[in-house]
Amino acid sequence: MTHALSRRATLRLGFGLGLGVTVLGTTALAADARSPRLVVIICRGAMDGLSVSPPLHDPAYAALRGAIAIPPDKALPLDGDFGLHPKLVNIQRLALAGQARIAPAVAWPVHIRSHFEAQDLLESGADKLYGTQTGWLNRTVQALSEDRAARAIAVAPQAPLILQGPAAYDTWSPGAPFNPAGSRLAGILQDLYQPDPLLGPAFAAGLAVEHEAMALNANAPALKANDARDFATAAARFLAAPGGPAIAVISLDGFDTHANQGAADGQLANRLSGLDDVVAGLEKGLGPDWAQTAVVVATEFGRTAHVNGTGGTDHGTASTLIVAGGALKAGGLLGDWPGLGQGQLFENRDTAPTLDMRRVFKTLIVEHLGVDRRLADTRVFPDSRDAGLISGLV
């Protein structure tokens, strides 16, 4: 059992000295005060872009939307053409300060209306269905050169596909405090898990991240399990910590508003209020590091341009994507507005896409995180050379 003891000792030593924790045999590098941070927020269920950023001056908008149109006097002013949903007060504040921008007609290049396939594409980064089994953030971590190395974490017990793959990743969610260094059991189990290619690395990473979380949350207000706002707080604590991860993923669900979606208030408004709190929570929690942060809010696809028979909307194509953060360059809309009039809708039903979602993601990983352009074009987003960078974003 000497081998076992030495492994446990190594684990404790690492914790005790506050060294970079060893995950998967490689020293996982860490964010310092100047290194870029990236937060990806996935809104699952197909978030309705026409409610997030209502095109108030599009002549077709009000008629298509009927009772679920955001009233112009309730929408928050954004620019001459678009408003923001009344619940997105913090995102509007950031937008007016040059720290948030919208892309009103974004879609993945493969147009499908299955939530689950579309989420798989958004997370895998593939240009065709079932193109890859790993996530594009995992491949981003792999593609970063040593001097720019970063760790990624999902604020959830499980890892979403976007993070899965051969590179080490962390997940963490609020729960009862646990001190791995003081746990004899944790040490014993590391030995048992060692030969297991799936459970072994995951368990080691879990202990390491729990140790980190223990220090971060020791003197801070407790976090609730399953609360989106507290997930943002948790993510911010990790990202702001010296030596912490630099990339975080948060999933929000409940955006599949087929019925009674509401307008300024109601079901969707409640979800957007949560989203706005998440972005505000990141800004607050990151403090000075917000200046190095980019946040991207994306959904798998948009919803039908017209209201359906049940006060909701069905599966569509393009939707709104939001980028925010102190690392952003000020500027207007990302991508063009296709219009909602006769002949302008995609398949005569949906907002038509004008911007490939991968271009936003790719710009952030290349120009913000520093991933090599060639790797971004070929490995992180396979066969995506045609999806160029967006100038003036970060």
Partner: protein, 459 residues
């Protein structure tokens, strides 16, 4: 392909096909592990949850009556926060009692393969309490009424029971989908809601890559118009019951996935569902999901073909499919490729110590909430993931460890951990794990080690 030795087969039967061995189970079935599984393939092996005095729980109609009473009491309480809080107590206790009963079936049944089979179909036809409080009332009765009675019958019957159940209709927003040319549609601006139509094709039957189009989804949504539920506020209607509303039905001939359907009111959808159930695409989709659930995230294509053929040749008889799975050599590989879901882990732990949880909130709901799988609350209509990699994440394993410590503290004094490990895992118990258990400093530590060991976490 040769099968592993019989003691390995018994361990696999109890852990991969079953829900984890109870003491004595592996020894009892070693003579004929496959025969033990085959004997479970019968509808009576899938019981419905019963209350502590052995009576059935309220049906969906009665659940909605209780729910309405709760909402009325909550409204009457006005600003009185204490009264508001207590107004739902009875209602919530009723649901918790059923979910405890459901867990007790899993932890004590002698037919754990049949229960796993039922849980698979319950997840296949996901109805989630995350949608609304009304679905809190209906998710458990949905499983009891629409799923459990039919899991060893014909798939078409199961599909029909699910698609017509008020819980599914409400979950996927079918109740007020209106044909634009129906009587109601011509009177006002209203229209289709495609949600149920799409998910039946994508998730429940054909599978997403079957080759159907948006036009097929829309056509099927037209076919389904009129399928609705009774409303409490309407005189003569019963909430919690399926109701066909002819005024909402889109008249006319429809074409769905290459088949033409003459006008047929309520029955038009029955004919479409029958054809969807009979499709070869459905056979392959279901076969892939079953092989993935039972054996591996990347199942052997021969196993998928075997199951799909059984489905096709038996015209969707799920008992034939189940027996084919049991006979298939590819299902008995000695690699335990699957990681237990949180519910499976919790159930198998209770089975290992031969106990059943008594307090739903503290022993079941609370832990499963932290472990990321609150019962009947999948985040999306595709249900809980069935991929090992989705469950084996860093934080998830630490949460499992914390839960295992608490569980061991409660149950370790009553057990001999080494004997327990042999009983729970049979020949799947590794020498290293056994040695670790023998050297543990306490029963509590030993039991926690067993529950967290890779061979207990996997199946």
């Amino acid at each position: 392909m040769t099968l592993p030795p019989r003691d390995t087969l018994a361990a696999i039967a109890a852990t991969r096909f079953g829900l984890g061995a109870r003491p004595g189970e592996i020894a009892r079935i070693t003579a004929d592990p496959q025969g033990w599984l085959r004997a479970q393939v019968r509808p009576e092996a899938v019981p419905i949850p019963l209350n502590p005095v052995g009576l059935p729980f309220p049906d969906s109609r009665a659940r909605l009556v209780d729910f309405a009473a709760f909402k009325a009491a909550e409204k009457a309480a006005g600003a009185d926060t204490d009264r508001r809080r207590t107004s739902g107590e009875m209602f919530r206790q009723g649901i918790a009692a059923e979910l405890l009963g459901r867990t007790s079936i899993a932890t004590t049944t002698d037919a754990p393969f049949a229960e796993r089979w039922a849980l698979f179909w319950s997840n296949h036809f996901t109805v989630s309490t995350r949608k609304s409080q009304e679905l809190d009332a209906l998710a458990a009765s949905f499983e009891r009424e629409a799923i459990r009675p039919h899991v060893f019958g014909r798939f078409e019957t199961l599909l029909l029971a699910s698609s017509r159940h008020p819980a599914m209709i409400l979950y996927l927003d079918q109740q007020s989908s209106i044909g634009p040319n129906s009587k109601a549609g011509l009177r006002r601006t209203a229209g289709l809601n495609e949600n149920l139509a799409r998910e039946i094709m994508e998730l429940h039957t054909l599978g997403v890559s079957a080759g159907y189009t948006q036009a097929d989804v829309t056509e099927f949504a037209r076919v389904l118009t009129g399928w609705s539920v009774g409303r409490r506020e309407q005189p003569g209607e019963t909430a919690g019951s399926f109701m066909y509303r002819p005024n909402l039905h889109e008249p006319g001939t429809r074409t769905v996935f290459g088949q033409t359907y003459p006008p047929g009111d309520e029955d038009q959808a029955l004919r479409v569902l029958a054809d969807l159930a009979a499709s070869g695409k459905t056979a392959t989709h279901l076969a892939t999901k079953l092989a993935t659930h039972f054996v591996s995230d990347t199942p052997d294509p021969r196993l998928v073909r075997r199951l799909a053929s059984a489905y096709h040749d038996s015209r969707g008889d799920l008992s034939v499919v189940a027996r084919t799975l049991i006979e298939a050599p590819e299902a008995w590989t000695d690699t335990a490729a699957k990681v237990k879901t949180p519910y499976e882990l919790l159930v198998s732990a209770y089975r290992a110590v031969d106990q059943a949880p008594r307090d739903y909130g503290r022993e079941v709901n609370g832990p499963l909430n932290l472990l990321g799988q609150r019962p009947l609350s999948a985040p999306q209509p595709n249900g809980w993931s069935d991929r090992a990699t989705d469950w084996a994440a860093p934080d998830a394993l630490v949460k499992r460890l914390q839960w295992a410590q608490g569980f061991a503290a409660s149950y370790a004094n009553q057990v001999d951990p080494v004997q327990l490990a042999t009983d729970a895992l049979g020949s799947r118990l590794r020498p290293l794990t056994l040695a670790t258990l023998q050297h543990a400093e306490s029963r509590k530590e030993a039991l926690a080690v067993l529950l967290m060991s890779p061979e207990f976490q996997r199946r």
